[in-house]
Amino acid sequence: MNPAYAYIYDDFLSDRGFERDIASLETKLNTFELAGRIGRLALFRSAKDLVEDLVRQGATTVVVVGNDTTLDKTMWFLPDLDVTVGYIPVTGPNAVAKLLGIPVGVEACGVLAARLIETIDMGRVDDRYFLTEISLPATIASLEIEGQYNVSSMHGGSLTVRNLGGRVGSEMVVADAKDGFLEAVIVPMEQERSSSLWKRVPTAKGTSIHLRHGVITSKDPVEAVVDNHAVSGFRFEVSVVPKKLRIITGRGRRLGATGVLQDHGRNGTVRSAQKRSLTARFSFPR
């Protein structure tokens, strides 16, 4: 056993359907001499306490085993620990794994063994970290940026502040998690006539602003989703903590990119990337 490695298994992996997968995974890790202590998440067990205990026992690499939801359960505290983070996605959802260039299943053990480590930024909303984004799906909240100006959609819309990015419909939207900025994206709603009714639909274009610090405020309580966890309130303070998380990535990582990754593969394989550019988005009328 390699004492430097510790593995955090999500509780759904105790399902019998995953027995063979976990056995294959552990065999592969043994082959690479990467087998370590195992901690299992459970409903009434604190993930933070579990990981801190493993770190006290000498773990310097903490590997999250499960899916993106498992990652969400640990990312709010992992950046404050002096560890390198690994990720083995076993099943979906695994959009974050794709952004990190980590294949699903035993193939991820090869990524772990290669130890291609990147130090990335983490977002912070109030007192908790986030890896991917904070989003307010339909809101009239405004975003004050760097204490200098306010941005708001005039008729409501969605507001998202991204660090790494995430899945939007069938697309994966990537933000640069190594540039020392968060990316705020506001997609306003516009009225569209549908038969005899007017309905509000998102416009095709979104506002994109890079920021280090911002405050989301609303007169009414709003619900925000932070790394797939719902929080509600009137005010959310967001900021970036540059170079905060050491994470093991694969060759196909997308950390230095921005734009939309189009998902054409039947199994969700990312095959093409499209960089956002001003010239592509805007043309003058002739």
Binding site: G17, T91, V104, S153, M154, R251, G252, A257, N267, R276
Partner: protein, 150 residues
Amino acid sequence: MSMFTSPKREDDMPEDHSFGGRPSPATVIAGGVRVEGDFTSQGDVLIEGEVHGNVTTTGLLTVGPQAKLKAGVKAEKAIIAGIIEGNLEVGSHLDIKSTASILGDITCQTASVESGATMDGRVEIGAKAAQPGQKHGAKAAASHDGKEDE
């Protein structure tokens, strides 16, 4: 449920540095979005919404045909197709499109103006405009007062 039996290969994906490394973040203010306050950027800026306050950028400012700015504007380069109510200071080239309407003084190094654009204010072309974020000491090479329709 399980995907271990059919692991996906991601080796055909290009590495991130193949399309990373942009010089500076680009900022977009889309239509239907309002900005209030002193908006400052180090990169290129595209505005299609509304801005009330001041706009300063060290890059290219593009104001779309639907955009409305009630703002003092400073930029290194600018392409204007929308409405600006406020003074416009451009460090190098200013491109005014036919749909543009500018109510305020204009300072720039060089300019091109399309037929149909309207301007109301002093125009100083060839002047050494202030760098964005600095006070400007313009040296007039040409100036026009009043409304101009080309």
